[in-house]
Amino acid sequence: MIAAILSLTVLGAILGIALGIANKFLKVEGNPIVDELVDLMPGSNCGQCGYPGCVGAAEAIVAGTAPATCCPPGGKALVSAIAAKLGLTVDLSALGDDGPKIATVAEELCIGCCRCARVCPTDAILGGPKQIHNVFREACTGCEACIEKCPTEALVMKPVPVTLQHWVMPKPRLA
């Protein structure tokens, strides 16, 4: 009886200490996978995912509390990159059914208040005070940060127009 208790206790203690030491040597600083994900993400900290910045979103994705599809500006490319990194299977078809959108300025409504330009995380809005503003199509990530700042509702999200350079032949129907 005593031998059994003793031997098990000693065994447990030895293994515990060994694991403790191993933990010291194999300690991982931060979470490398989070850093890898942050590198993949747009880095504009737009907040569309509902997390404080891209680092927060990356942590949530790794922890499994956020889906890999939570980043609208990253689009399908980001989702598949994250899925490959984490070994997840993600249904890409459920994502972005209406395609990416970007902000556009309705020129007849813009009063040149500059409020939108100040919040844009990528400086994609151009315009001086009392001048009609405009959005650089290439720089807009579609984060919608500017939409609610506009006092005249001159900013609206519109789907990115398909051009010859962007057109992709549709996948053939299943046989």
Binding site: L40, M41, P42, G43, S44, N45, P73, G74, G75, K76, A77, L78, S80, A84, L92, C120, P121, T122, D123, A124, E138, A139, T141, V162, T163, L164, H166, W167, V168, M169, P170, K171, P172, L174, A175
Partner: protein, 515 residues
Amino acid sequence: MGFMNLFKHFLGDDWGVHPDDRKRPAADRPLRTMPVPEKLYLPLQQHLGGPARPVVLVGQQVKKGELIAEAQGMISAPIHAPTSGTIVAVTDITAPHPSGLTLPAIILAADGRDEWIDCQGCADPFALDPAEIGKRVAAAGVVGLGGAAFPSAVKLTGAARSKVKTLVINGGECEPYLSCDDRQMRERAADIVDGIRIMLHATGAREALVGIEDNKPEAIAAMQAAAAGEAEVHIRPIPARYPMGSEKQLVQVLTGKEVAAESRTFDIGILVHNVGTALAVRAAIRDGRPLISRVVTVNGNCANDPGNIEVLVGTLAEEVIAFAGGLKGDGIGLARRVMGGPMMGMQIPHWRVPVVKGTSGILAFDAQEVAAQEPDPCIRCGSCVKACPMGLLPLEMSARIRNSAYDEAVGIGLKDCIACGCCAYVCPSKIPLVQYFVHAKGELAAQDRNKLRNDATKKLAQQRQERLDREAREKAEAAAKRKAEREAAAAAKAAAEAAAKQASETAGATEGESA
């Protein structure tokens, strides 16, 4: 004899397909030249690479051959007015593209005079510096006329730099229905040989091999006669087989050398050009004339009077067909409109699409030629594997693409696919294999674009952060500076006051003393 050749010797090297070529009777009719139409529609992007930038204003008068849009970027080509007239508009028109999307174009109204601009020709091209030839070809807007429309000058100067030894001239014209190259070889053989010699001079290559499929005996005879006196130009009949006109296959048949995966013919010292391009190069150098017209084959069961027609670039397909004799029964039986060849050309949504520099054919197919059929499941017969000229596994690639596993498809050679369509042609289940590959390539390109965009966004966000930091710093510095200035001013004022006080005191004192 390398190992691969030995391998092929036993297995039989029968890549590709042997479709009914349907080139006659169109190929046997003489070239016709179409008169100048009323309006010409000139897309700014008729070539691979960056679109051209317009250099004319609406309402401006231009002469035939005048530059109307300049090249933009490293790989691009300028566009010239095909006739004299007035620029009516710069606007979006339907693109000669399967998507049916629009692209910006210059619209030119012809004035009917067809007046040439002053052309600076060159009597002796062989005295010119090769680099100068490259420049002139670039300025003339010459692009590959075989279909891909890659700017020819980029290829010529690149070839001169990488010291190619052999120039391969593609007279294969392996696509069924098309006979524009055939016709030009029959009628303009001497000019083609002259163009080839100019290209030899421009590239520094030692010999030119002209590959012509053996289903064009008249063209072979004409070219052999024209090249009789030229030691460095060799005419080589090659077996008719699709896709013999594909760069890598043609090079392998003519020289026995195989181009490695994901590399170019340049890497083994070979440059490939089309026979039509040789003519365009000759015109650009000898006569100083830019590329403003090309020969187009009008064919297909629906065409009333099939044949080859020389048309100005920018002419609507509608007008070309009308000139060629129209459609049978006014197009009642029309099932499909195609620009280019039947294998690799593109379906267009309507006939109001302009002929561009790379348009080799305008084909009007009836239902029998299209033979649309619902695809059946893959029976794993391997016909596509045998037909694939690149030695790929179309059935495996398409299965992966169907599951959206694009990376796996790339892993088994998707990037080497030349989209020739042999696999889809031979498939007994009529699976649209090549459409899967075109789709996957587009999807991969879109993913790459997204990745670039993501990087650009990250950079923008960083730059914004830096700007905000800088502004905050500058603001703080300015505030500190103002504060220091204020304090200095206050101190100076105090000092001045003190000095004035002292001065008045001493003055008072002296006054008192003097009083």
